[in-house]
Assembly symmetry: none
Homo-oligomer: 210 residues x 4
Amino acid sequence: MLPSPSEPSELSQPGQPTPQRRSEKSHRAILDAAMELCVEHGYGKVTVEAIASRAGVSKKTIYRWWPTKGAVLLEAVIELAGTTTGFPDTGDIAEDLHTQMTAVLDNVMTGPHATVYAGIIAETQHDATLADALRTQLLDPRIAAARARLLQAREHGHLAPGTDLTMLVDLLYGPLYYRLLLHLAPYSHARVRTHIDHVLRIFAPTPASP
Amino acid sequence: MLPSPSEPSELSQPGQPTPQRRSEKSHRAILDAAMELCVEHGYGKVTVEAIASRAGVSKKTIYRWWPTKGAVLLEAVIELAGTTTGFPDTGDIAEDLHTQMTAVLDNVMTGPHATVYAGIIAETQHDATLADALRTQLLDPRIAAARARLLQAREHGHLAPGTDLTMLVDLLYGPLYYRLLLHLAPYSHARVRTHIDHVLRIFAPTPASP
Amino acid sequence: MLPSPSEPSELSQPGQPTPQRRSEKSHRAILDAAMELCVEHGYGKVTVEAIASRAGVSKKTIYRWWPTKGAVLLEAVIELAGTTTGFPDTGDIAEDLHTQMTAVLDNVMTGPHATVYAGIIAETQHDATLADALRTQLLDPRIAAARARLLQAREHGHLAPGTDLTMLVDLLYGPLYYRLLLHLAPYSHARVRTHIDHVLRIFAPTPASP
Amino acid sequence: MLPSPSEPSELSQPGQPTPQRRSEKSHRAILDAAMELCVEHGYGKVTVEAIASRAGVSKKTIYRWWPTKGAVLLEAVIELAGTTTGFPDTGDIAEDLHTQMTAVLDNVMTGPHATVYAGIIAETQHDATLADALRTQLLDPRIAAARARLLQAREHGHLAPGTDLTMLVDLLYGPLYYRLLLHLAPYSHARVRTHIDHVLRIFAPTPASP
DNA sequence: AAGTAAGCGAGACGGTACGTCTTGTCTTTAA
DNA sequence: TTAAAGACAAGACGTACCGTCTCGCTTACTT
């Protein structure tokens, strides 16, 4: 194999700037500064100038690699959520869902990072580009993974054959986002379990008639 | 007597300015201008200056009565949603939910006003005061109304006795907001019906053992 | 005598409001408030609103009788200088000038009222109407009085026959205003005397030849 | 060596902004725009916004380098008067004074720029900082130059030995400012000559007793 | 090893909007 | 019926960020 760049789909701005002469030190400092600012002073206080200042970096450097402060935070959140990506497969779909959903809750929907995640989603309301990036880089892969796991469960007979996976995903995740974005109390781990049980009951496989 | 709040709770800034010497003409022009700007050019183009200019009003007049442009739009949205408030009571809980939920969808979650509503929710992520106002003035009354109707249904035996109303509301409305704010396709009226049926199935009253 | 108003040339706005039903109490309160504000907080802090507020008077009342805050202060200063108007006539022109000029210095060019007087003159630089009022109501009468006294001195042989009275007045008063408006130290009473002596020396009557 | 200040004293705001990365193009455009606005529409119409707009410059750029619109105009006037600075020395003090004083009259006390100069002096009545700047940067150097020339004349026997230079300067320049700021007709060149002759007569050297 | 071209820090720049202030007019309320 | 109280349109104030643009300096790829 030659030096194939092999990962062309950079999530930052793939514009003209170019190469791999990018300073990794600045890259890190920017992501960290953005995240810290958001956590410490709230999303509203995250400005490109503030990031630059705290990271000891020039504004130009930020604009060279990201189109928007939202993009910076998005990258930071993706990093954060990176660990949460995979679905486990223990054979017990309820258990696996619980594992994944509580991980999401703990990582980005409660605690200090909830602000960051909610802030990014907020920003996508006015920024179609960022909305695309959020979908492409964060949501779609995770939704796909969820559907894959659920599909497998359906095929294994743990869900009714005709189960509408889209609706199932909506019912599972919708309330989590609803509570995050409407400032309602987030689910506890226990409540997540109840929630999953309720939803799965809808799509339980044939009521096992004698 | 119904919980008619008899409208003492002004939704605008109840601060010092004072009384009812307020110009109703300006009030209207401001709400209209804000809504139009948002619909025509997007939430991002709604600035206090633009509202003032289009409404033929001075900025001071806006700041006298609202703390924030978000508060202006919130009042406009509340006005919009005002018609959607009540739950009908035909005796058929599924039907009544469908009536109310499609009204919400049509009024503020699809069409030109979706931008406005999503924009306000976005703004509440950075503005705790606005978040409070949204909750107090818009969400809480509607959630209470929904719970009241569901409670009645439970008492009439249309829902299982132990039904957790909070979770029921989460399951009903969560997916609507999830799809609005994550830029997924909104539900069609038909899909709302399916959705309601699925959710109610969870809490169906005792499997009727004759 | 009928109720002849007897003083038709009001120095305030001669506009439509007209009558003599004017509240003398408000009139006084406004003049006092304006003067106090200027003395206490500087000319810059004198706004119509501040005057109204301190005088317990509505803005409308001020605008009814004066066109400008400058006009209010002008009236106040005229009142102040009213006492200084007349020239004494002891027969000694140098002494009489000294009396008058030190009175002017003490009343409006030093002490707390210097700010007020300088401020009004400043305002006339941008306000032709006020400039006219200043000239007509304050300066011209005093210049005329000075010229009259000097003319008399010339006729009595205390000044050279061809003495240019205009230049004489310029030389006498110019330096006072120069020092006031350019923020140089004002003349002391003693220095005024020296100043007068110097200037009069120019126009001394014929050098008394044998 | 003459008191050549070698120009370390920047007349603009010497504050934090920093260096010589200043755009000379903007600098010029701002000074020109300010001066033009003042000449064309009067001092009152000179606002920072108007200057910025006409100069094609952002308000921030103005505030970065000057504390006040008055400071901008002051710099413009200083530039204007720059040419007038020096006193000639032909050996004839009356002639040299005439040269300098008519230059001042023509440059800043009559014609279109009189408004500007009078406006700045007006502004110093409410702005101590600007007053200082006016003194330090404009008046003091010129007064010093005048005194130097007069001192030399005294030493050469063209003025009486005990001549009070301060009073002499007051008498020479006072009437010019008095007429400028009190809206009286400015001196003509001929009248300046008469004026100088009169004043110098006071301090003529010993009556030449042969 | 020198040359060259990029990234980099710094920060000035033209803009836009902010939220506040004052002006002068107009309206409401109370005496 | 007058005047206080004060809301109003207008528009300048001085500040904060935006995103773009030089500057020199450093750093890492050429050749």
